[in-house]
Symmetry: C2
Subunit: 445 residues, 2 copies
């Protein structure tokens, strides 16, 4: 993993820390979001596995440091800094909330305790990976909530923000509850179930629709899904019905899905294919699925692409990565910023999850182990993985179990008046007040 | 580049083409979008360089084909298909519209003429890369249009849909008109100017704001940009002013940017720093910049992140990749689909750009060379690059020149009633009518 895939200011700051002799100072940064995205009442944490891989593998090459030396920002920087980059190995500690866990504003999804130079450099990459996967996992959870027992498959790679984004969208969507993905690399690399049969071009490529269907059935047998809308959906359904078993079912990809699903269901049933399923695709999202199911559309499975892989109604999460502590022992200092609307709570934190609320506390506090769980757990210790991370299936199961325990209102598709209760501990509030008082005094003088 | 980073159905169709003996049939696919995204009156084509790299480098490994063999969809597929994948080398022709060119619905940004198996497999990757970069280049063009002579720098990697998306967002934003990016890898890999100085954590990491500013100025000299809102913007501005030259200027990142810019301008001017500049950041986009500048805010440069790197108000473009021709010589067949709302025009196309309108024609037609330019140009011939592609600077220049020639209304931030005129040639309409008549007859029988 290249160290240059970061904002330039991380590198100029790293150089500045080096020049100021501060680069090895122990620092703590926390990654969290300030506000819930549009219409969300929770966010599903995801992307930790890639974050850990990145931290462990991060390196700089000579060609990269040579490039930096050409930039005017580095003309006054001493050679030792570039040697420091060439020797870069992440040697810090990482704490995190497990993938699949619903989280709320202010809760640290990831905590990095490391020499200042290291912890600073990795901000950009971590925010992009964890922010994006968390957005998509959340979107998937919403879609699956509405779809209920009907399977939802992630089909969005073609509309993702670059092919790599499609790969990570597939991973996050699975964690959020999807049954699988069309992204084959996600199946190969992460062991996620993959789905897919044929597109319109398949039908078009044969002289007749019948020949296209027959060739598909010969190859796929019971996995066969006919895409029936290339020319005329009802004619396509009749053709599919006439071919009989083996088949999984048919796919609708255009037109009024509610009406068509009813008509197609009748055609299949009349042909004795009661076990043949109907899958719907075509610019779906949780809102449309809610509407179609409320209208009684006999749809058995959904393929969701664009809106899922881009989290289209909330395409960004305001995730931030903030310095909350600096120094060690007696030299330890809590840090914050006062910027309007962007104030942050100082100090390294823990999140205690109780049955009906969360408490954000100082990392040194002990919650009540009988009634609460500490969500922020060690992941990397002095550069070494503490234990293998849970795989995607475990993360997916974690999401399902956690979501079941959330209040129903919290799982609404729409913003609820009553927020999930998250409180600060008395100790954390004391620390924050103390830091603020000190800063305000300084600003005033 | 791995061949598995695609939808599974591309691979099942590829297998089906192989089994049906159609995999070497000559096919033509076109990549285009059906409708303009929200509030857009044009789209800037981008991503071609990565598309070409992908096509030339695409390979399959034994581990990948072994994985495919484990999937139920491939149980009936003969071994020869997997050998075909292991031998995969793109051997087709590619035509494209140059990066930076404004394009309109129905115009083929990319045309692939290749054996059916090859052309089918690459759909997903090409759509994701070209769709995304075109979205961001378009967003950048809108932002730069509003900012006028003031520089706009792309700062969005942290909010992009994965770090790699951030890299390509930086590239596309530069093509669309940005002065540069904070993404250092984009500077290293594509030669894009990079910018960035320091974040709040820099200020927080020093015992006092003054020490932070002094250390920055020592390192950066005339490149120094003070981020002045960590604790109190006005106090920060006074501190910056007191340190005097060398500096580039200051950055505002929170609060009411119009009021603060006026106050800070006065503080800098009063200190004799009339040449010190004010940069603004903080969840900006073209709409906010329009408002701030209309309110007379003395801002000299903008850093735009989240909304640019995610094209937040239009996070997806309905780009599609459609089979339009199949076969060769006498066996050549034009193809289309009739799906409701998703009809496509058959046959390989050319786009002639006249002074005040575009004409989409059959690829065999000749436009009027005196009054029009043929936009769709050969890029790859039989798997080989025809000539080196223009670099990002040439693409950026192309965008600037083309945008200048667009009608003012077309460059509005908002959807205009009057669309840019794009017509079909008489010949293309004849071809389409003929194909539709044939299909309708077939569906009717």
């Amino acid at each position: 993993m290249t160290g240059l895939l970061t904002d330039l200011y991380q590198l100029t700051m790293a150089a500045g820390y080096y020049e100021s002799g501060k680069h090895e100072e122990r620092s703590v940064f926390e990654l969290f979001f300030r506000r819930l995205p549009h219409n969300r009442n929770y966010v599903i944490a995801a992307g930790l596995a890639q974050a850990v891989e990145y931290l462990v593998q991060l390196r700089f090459t000579r060609a990269e440091t040579d490039y930096l030396r050409t930039l005017p920002q580095f003309h006054n920087v001493s050679a030792g800094f570039f040697d420091e980059l060439l020797r870069f190995r992440f040697s810090g500690d990482v704490y995190a909330i497990a993938e699949g866990t619903p989280v709320f504003p202010g809760e640290p999804l990831l905590t990095i305790r490391a020499p200042l130079l290291q912890a600073q450099l990795v901000e950009t990459w971590l925010l992009a990976m964890i922010g994006f996967q968390s957005l998509v996992a959340t979107k998937a959870a919403r879609i699956c909530e509405v779809a209920g027992a009907r399977g939802v498959v992630e089909f969005g790679t073609r509309r993702a923000h670059s092919p790599e984004a499609g790969l990570f969208a597939a991973r996050a969507a699975y964690i959020g509850g999807c049954a699988g993905t069309s992204n084959t690399e996600a199946g190969f690399r992460f062991g996620i179930p993959v789905f897919g049969t044929a597109a319109h071009s398949w039908v078009q490529s044969f002289p007749t629709e019948r020949e296209a269907y027959e060739a598909l059935q010969r190859m796929l047998g019971p996995e066969t899904v006919y895409l029936i809308d290339t020319y005329d959906t009802i004619a396509g359904a009749n053709l599919a019905a006439s071919l009989g078993r083996p088949l999984w079912g048919v796919r609708l990809d255009s037109g009024n899905l509610v009406e068509l699903a009813h008509q197609v269901r009748r055609i299949l049933d009349d042909a004795g294919l009661r076990d043949a399923k109907i899958m719907a695709t075509s610019d779906l999202n949780e809102y449309k699925i809610l509407e179609y199911l409320a209208a009684g559309a006999p749809i058995d499975a959904f393929g969701v692409g664009t809106d899922l892989a881009t989290s289209a109604d909330a395409p960004a999460i305001g995730a931030v990565y903030k310095l909350v502590e600096l120094g060690d022992g007696d030299g330890k200092r809590y840090t914050t910023k006062l910027s309007e609307g962007k104030h942050t709570m100082p100090g390294m934190k823990q999140v205690f999850r109780y049955r009906d609320h969360d408490q954000i506390a100082c990392s040194s506090e002990c919650g009540d182990p009988a009634s609460s769980v500490a969500l922020v757990r060690p992941v990397i210790n002095r550069g070494e993985l503490v234990e293998p991370l849970p795989d995607v299936d475990a993360a997916r199961k974690n999401a399902q179990e956690c979501l079941r325990r959330l209040p129903l209102a919290c799982r609404s598709l729409f913003e609820t008046e009553e927020k999930y209760p998250v409180e600060y501990s008395a100790e954390l509030r004391r620390v924050s007040d103390r830091v603020l008082a000190g800063l305000n005094q300084e600003v005033a003088t």
